[in-house]
Amino acid sequence: MRRIISILLENEPGALSRVVGLFSQRGYNIETLNVAPTEDATLSRLTLTTVGDDKTIEQITKQLNKLVDVVKLVDLTEGAHIERDMMLIKVRASGGAQRDEVKRTTDIFRGQIVDVGPNVYTIQLTGTGEKLDSFVAAMAEAEILEVVRSGVAGISRGEKVLRL
């Protein structure tokens, strides 16, 4: 099953490589990875998605917790949560019909065209990983020039928080 694991990590040099190294060392897979600073300068927040059976996921969370640089972690998929992935996608858009088609699909997905060239559109789209996948599939007719995604970031719904 796909899991979203969110980690508060000491903002120390080498901390990220310990997390990433753990996955390759133990043969776990990372599908997406997102890291950025938090409001607390000593901590960064890392969110990753991975796939595995319950036993593997249990080992992954235990092994992550064991890393000295990991302060806290949560498996967001265990409860109600919000997940967001952000995509910038550049597609060929030349000629009226094609430009209209791309624009229409973008609107349906509630994306925004954030840059326009004579022959290209750059579209920004935010949503679950699944939604972004569907958008890419919907663009199959158009010529996709470039895709870049932030990787999933996530947070629990309601009162539940991941903090010190």
């Binding site: 000491e10 040099p13 080498g14 190294g21 060392q25 036993k55 235990k62 092994q63 064991k66 010190l164």
Partner: protein, 581 residues
């Protein structure tokens, strides 16, 4: 406040930490540190002949004393030479602090002379690592390193130190912290009471119980408690390779080692058990054989300080995370309360039947009953270990290398105390034995220290004979000479129709007696059984000499029992070249 340079702070911090020995080797990147040690330190430094040996010596010291081993090496090749020893310590959860030199900060990343990314290279084989960014952080960093290495599940910690952080002309206020608090590191102190109650109930309801204990009981100083618990219940005990000595090896309740080369009665008892109490053991693949066939009728109670050890391979029915010492004492308390309420616990008739069964297994294929060697033109390796046992009264520290000799030592030297059996189990590092023995002998100069080895393994760190001379560490080297990489040969006999691919040395072995003499030590050959005991005693009588006994043993001997693999269970064993369970 006192002002010290980075190098001086390192020297002082090691002193303040109570370090008894530093094992190391100098080089450019650590010269400031060495100079500071030379000028001021009260901590003796042991100059090895290869950095790998520094890590193994520190490791042997740590295993024998329970205190962390300390290593100091230079950057680049010094650091990479230490890697095997760090991995060895990591796999067996041994507390160790390794200080490695690094090129100057401004050169890092430029492929500078003797630069290598030690933090990166060692990452998967350390419990944690640090890189000094500011010299003023050194004391707190060293304190943290010792704290992490020695608490929770112990392990090696690397501190990488750029040369400029140790320069003598930059001084800083020195203060060595008394304690450490880290928000991201707090190993469990107690087991969960509810789980412990459940465990006590399950343990007392057992009809065919086995206590399976490992290295964690040795590390956690809980062999006294384990013994008390087992004896108060009259339950059988088996130990892993790492756990030997945690329960008295000569006691009737002891079934011997379990696993791939475990004793018949130990493996049979495990396979037929209804309740297994696993304490500080990690269900290694050398123990379980095929996991899906592991002990089909057993419920498992698993006590371990490290949650990742629990249900990693074998699913625990009652997991208990906590230090063995406190969990075992809580468990004993619960057990005795429950027995006060119900005097019929545990089920005595069932236990009696269980012991009858175990004794029957023992009588059939046990090492100590029945099986004897008969007439043989060669000395049997098992006889050598028995002779060693007699000559040392069963009280020696025995270090070992890796191979058949290691298994014979584990099976036949009956360790009655923890920390006396010192070997590389998890990584299986040939070359471990001699440097580890040096570390032990330095810690216990009056004790008998024997290194059981093979002619293959001993040559992997034989240069340390010179260190033994310099620091007067008169260890006894018991070379079980079969003229083969015996363990490799055994597998080739069993699985490759005796094709000995690269497991022989042809005629290239050195004359070990002459070699010993060249180093100023004593070497003796033993070629027949009649002289074995006498030479063994003679060797141990030479208290202040390193003695190498080159003992010619049966080259064709195999280690048995041996698990049938792949696809076998605990009970599937080869008992000799032509008998199978």
């Amino acid at each position: 406040m006192e002002m010290l340079s980075g190098g001086e702070m390192i020297a002082r911090a090691l002193e303040d930490e109570g370090v008894e020995f530093i094992f190391g080797y100098p080089g450019g990147a650590v010269l400031h540190i060495y100079d500071a040690l030379f000028k001021a330190s009260k901590v003796p430094h042991v100059l090895v002949r290869h950095e790998q040996a520094a890590t193994h010596a520190a490791d042997g010291y740590a295993r024998a004393t329970g205190k962390p081993g300390v290593v100091l090496v230079t950057s680049g090749p010094g650091a990479t030479n230490a890697v095997t020893g760090i991995a060895t310590a990591y796999m067996d959860s041994i507390p160790m602090v390794v200080l490695s030199g690094q090129v100057q900060s401004h050169l890092i990343g430029e492929d500078a002379f003797q630069e290598c990314d030690m933090v990166g290279i060692s990452r998967p084989i350390v419990k944690h690592s640090f890189m000094v960014r500011k010299p003023e952080d050194i004391p707190a960093m060293i304190k943290k390193a010792f704290h992490i290495a020695t608490t929770g599940r112990p392990g090696p910690v690397v501190i990488d130190i750029p040369k400029d952080a140790t320069r003598p002309d930059a001084k800083f206020e020195y203060h060595y912290p008394e304690a450490v608090k880290m928000r991201s590191y707090s190993p469990a102190q107690r087991g969960h009471t509810g789980q412990i109650k459940k465990a006590a109930r399950m343990l007392l309801s057992a009809k065919r119980p086995v206590i399976y204990s490992g290295g964690g009981v040795v590390q956690g100083e809980a062999s006294g408690l384990l013994t008390e618990l087992a004896q108060s219940l009259n339950y059988p005990v088996t130990n892993t390779l790492m756990g030997l000595g945690a329960y008295p090896g000569t006691d009737r309740q002891f079934l011997g080692m379990l696993g791939m080369h475990g004793l018949y009665e130990a493996n049979m008892a495990m396979h037929n058990a209804d309740v297994i109490l696993a304490v500080g053991a990690r269900f290694d693949d050398r123990v379980t054989n095929t996991v899906s066939k592991f002990c089909p009728g057993a419920k498992v109670i698993h006590i371990d300080i490290d949650p990742t050890s629990i249900s990693k391979t074998v699913q625990a029915d009652i997991p208990i995370v906590g230090p063995v010492h406190s969990v075992l004492s809580d468990l004993m308390e619960q057990v005795s309360q429950m027995r006060k309420k119900d005097a019929d616990l545990p089920d005595q008739p069932a236990l009696e039947r269980w012991w009858q069964q175990i004794d029957e297994w023992r009588g059939k294929h046990g090492l100590w009953t029945g099986r004897r060697y008969g007439e043989n033109e060669h000395i049997k390796p098992q006889q050598v270990i028995e002779s060693l046992y007699r000559a040392t009264g069963g009280n020696a520290f025995v270090t070992s290398d890796v191979g058949q000799h290691q298994m014979f030592a584990a099976q036949y030297y009956r360790f009655n105390h923890p920390r006396r059996w010192i070997n590389s189990g998890g990584l299986g590092t040939m070359g471990f034995g001699l440097p580890a023995a040096m570390g032990v002998k330095l810690a216990f100069p009056d004790a008998d220290v024997a290194c059981v080895t093979g002619e293959g393994s001993i040559q992997m760190n034989i240069q340390e004979l010179s260190t033994c001379t310099q620091y007067n560490t008169p260890v006894k080297i018991i070379n079980l000479r079969n003229n083969y990489l015996g363990m490799v040969k055994q597998w080739q006999d069993m699985q490759y129709e005796g094709r000995y691919a690269m497991s022989t040395y042809e005629d290239s072995l050195p004359d070990f007696v002459k070699l010993m003499e060249a180093y100023g030590h004593v070497g003796m050959q033993v070629r027949s059984l009649d002289e074995l005991d006498a030479k063994m005693e003679e060797a141990f009588a030479m208290k202040d000499k390193v003695v190498f006994l080159d003992i010619f043993i049966d080259p064709m001997e195999h280690v048995y029992p041996m698990h049938v693999a792949p696809n076998g269970s605990m009970k599937d064993m080869w008992l000799s070249k032509n008998e199978r369970t």
